[in-house]
């Protein structure tokens, strides 16, 4: 019983980790980056590669993963993405789908079609039991800690710092922001780098539970979108709550009502979109 709740929270946090990057690019930059999964996959491969080929310890890979993803993110942002900031959502979708195709083939070319093995350090694997029949998976606990920490940090960054304020201004009205002498481009690059880094981190942390192969970007795209749709893009708290709710409902649903299968989570998504297009926790758009 308690275990189900715990697993639910863990699953929720995992959802949060793999989708928060998208929430950043979509919500804060209003860019529909369906290639989010590609960045996550990149992070996954970097992590596994360092781990298995160079024997870098798992925890040590994470910062490297974030750096690499961010770097690639900046590169693509400067060369391609910026061209589409003004464009319609449709164009952004098409563009990022194209990017997804390319990434899939590239991954297939370098790593082959098979699943990548990931061996966690013993300190992160296994499970310990607490009184009251609560079994705590160490890795899940680790995810929860990381996830919540990350959420807090991001929330603070967006709401509590000058950068956050600048960012929000730049997004709400680029023209005005430029007028006020803000370096909008710099802000966008930084944000995109952040989004990519988060995607990479999510991917790396996800490998253990989601697996990793070239189809990754397509397979989990739905889950990213669901979280953003329910959470309301662009607010960190929203995506966290949404992820937790989805996670707990999903786990509980599977535990007590397995027949429902994937319907449940899709249902939640549709209902939200129809009745609260701005998301459960989204601020009502000014338009």
């Amino acid at each position: 019983m308690l275990t189900v709740l715990f697993d639910g929270i863990a699953a929720g946090v995992l959802l949060f980790l793999i989708s928060v990057g998208l929430s950043v690019t979509l919500g804060l930059m209003n860019f529909v980056n369906l290639a989010h999964g590609a960045f996550a996959m990149l992070g996954g491969y970097v992590c596994v590669g360092l781990l298995n080929r160079l024997g870098v310890p798992f925890l040590a890979t994470l910062p490297i993963v974030m750096l690499v993803s961010a770097a690639v993110g900046v590169l693509l942002e400067r060369t391609l993405y910026w061209r589409l900031y003004g464009a319609t959502h449709l164009d952004q979708v098409l563009f990022s789908i194209g990017l997804v195709f390319v990434s899939i083939s590239t991954a297939h070319f370098f790593f082959g079609a098979q699943q990548q093995p990931l061996q966690l350090p013993p300190m992160l694997s296994g499970q310990f039991h607490l009184p009251g029949g609560l079994d705590v998976g160490v890795y899940r606990l680790f995810l929860i800690v990381v996830g919540l920490g990350l959420a807090a940090a991001l929330q603070w960054m967006v709401v509590g710092t000058k950068f956050g304020a600048t960012l929000r201004a730049a997004v709400d009205n680029p023209r005005a922001a430029r007028g006020l002498g803000l370096d909008v481009d710099r802000v966008f690059v930084a944000t995109f780098a952040l989004g990519s880094a988060l995607a990479g981190l999510g991917g790396a942390l996800g490998v253990e539970m989601l697996g990793l192969d070239p189809e990754f970007p397509v397979r989990y795209i739905v889950y990213f979108l669901i979280v953003v749709a329910v959470g309301g893009s662009g607010n960190i708290k929203g995506s966290l709550y949404a992820s937790l709710i989805l996670g707990i409902c999903d786990v509980a649903g599977k535990y007590w009502l397995p027949q429902a299968g994937a319907f449940f989570i899709y249902g939640v998504m549709l209902a939200t979109l129809v009745f609260r297009p701005q998301g459960l926790f989204g601020r009502v758009a000014a338009k």
Partner: protein, 390 residues
């Protein structure tokens, strides 16, 4: 009279010429396989098997040289694509034999083409039982799902496993496996204490594993498509100490097949499965096969799909030798019926009644052999027919 003679003579001549004619030109085998997309690995392994056979046994049978034409029907689940490619093979490339078929939908979709075009069709993997009933020109050299499911059920019942919890992926094969396991296991006096069908693309097995843990069955019967799901499940299985708490894990052998067993890692140790082929099968034929395979494709390990391709090609070769190179559907199927041979997987034969394969099913356990994870056979059900057709 004379006129009669001459007529006969000319007929004879004609016969000779015509037969001579077709003996000369090569025999074309059109293969429909998923070479890209999610099931690319299937196509790869089957092609390996076929080419390996031609490389080791020569490429001319019944006086006719074999020519392969391979078409990619990715994603492999789109019957319309497979059917179109089969049509092209027949109409445009003028193939004599249709072969391959990674997944059930493509076999189902192509069967009518074989019937209409009167071409023999050799299935090298697709495993749904009913496939062979879809065309009289169809023969299967791989396996059927029930064939590999029933034995593990009866083995479990025989070996002190009373209560089983079944967990299968929620798609055609998964449902079939579940049904067959229940049938055999309950018939043998076993009890199903819980059953779950999980979405095919499922991010987290935690809740299911927890459910199993709380139900405390003697064993879990598992059927998942090879890939992310399997790995996640196996890892969770050990992480949550189900293995430690003595809950056995039983499944069909495609779960820990040689293609992905390394990705599962040590979590797979102790997994008990029933299957028709293991790289570790002890026989001179298999030793030779494995050696040849390792030489030809050092980056991959031979698995049941490669053997499906290998035996499929063997079947075609033997038939051609028997018919002297005649691949017309009726003759081909007649020759194929009741054919027996020793495959790398062990003794196999084609059931004259169903045109489906009859083979020995082995019970295996995942162990480390020379640092390599292998399915080690320790029990067997000889000459086992597909129970799905009864």
């Amino acid at each position: 009279m004379t006129s009669n003679k001459t007529r006969i003579a000319t007929l004879a001549l004609a016969a000779i010429f015509s037969s001579g004619a077709f003996a000369a030109d090569p025999i074309k085998i059109g293969m429909v396989l998923p070479m890209s997309g999610p099931f690319a690995a299937y196509g790869k392994q089957i092609e390996h098997g076929v080419r390996l056979y031609l490389a080791t046994k020569g490429d001319t049978f019944g006086g006719r040289k074999v020519e392969l034409i391979i078409k990619d029907d990715s994603p492999g689940t789109a019957g319309d694509v497979s059917k179109r490619l089969a049509q092209e093979l027949v109409v445009k490339d003028k193939v004599d034999i249709l072969a391959g078929f990674g997944l059930t939908p493509s076999a189902f979709a192509v069967a009518p083409v074989a019937t209409e075009a009167k071409k023999p069709m050799v299935v090298m993997n697709a495993a749904t039982s009913a496939i062979t009933t879809k065309s009289n020109y169809l023969v299967r050299a791989s396996m059927t799902l029930p064939q590999n499911t029933a034995p593990i059920a009866s083995w479990a019942a025989k070996n002190g496993i009373k209560n089983v919890f079944t967990l299968v992926a929620d798609f055609g094969p998964g449902q079939d496996a579940e049904a067959q396991f229940k049938k055999t296991f309950t018939a043998a006096g076993g009890k199903i204490v819980g059953e779950v069908r999980v979405p095919v693309a499922n991010p987290d097995y935690g809740p299911f594993l927890q459910k199993i843990k709380d139900t405390k069955p003697d064993a879990v019967f598992l059927f998942l498509p090879p890939g992310a799901g399997t790995i996640a499940f196996m890892k969770g299985y050990t992480e949550r100490g189900l293995a430690a708490s003595g809950i056995k894990l039983i499944a069909t052998g495609d779960l820990p097949d040689e293609e992905i067993i390394d990705a599962i890692g040590d979590a797979a140790l102790g997994l008990i499965t029933s299957f028709h082929y293991s790289e570790a099968h002890k026989s001179p034929e298999n030793a030779a096969y494995v050696a040849a395979y390792a030489k030809a494709y050092p980056k991959d390990r031979p698995n049941f799909m490669s053997v499906g391709g290998y035996d499929g090609m063997h079947l075609i070769a033997e038939v051609l030798n028997k018919t002297g190179g005649d691949a017309s559907a009726e003759k081909f199927i007649e020759a194929a019926k009741g054919m027996k041979w020793i495959s790398p997987r062990g003794p196999v034969s084609i059931d004259p009644a169903t045109r489906d394969i009859v083979q020995t099913i082995y019970i295996r356990k995942v162990e480390k052999v020379g640092g390599k994870l292998q399915n080690v056979e320790f029990d067997q059900v000889p000459d086992f027919k597909d129970p799905g057709k009864e």
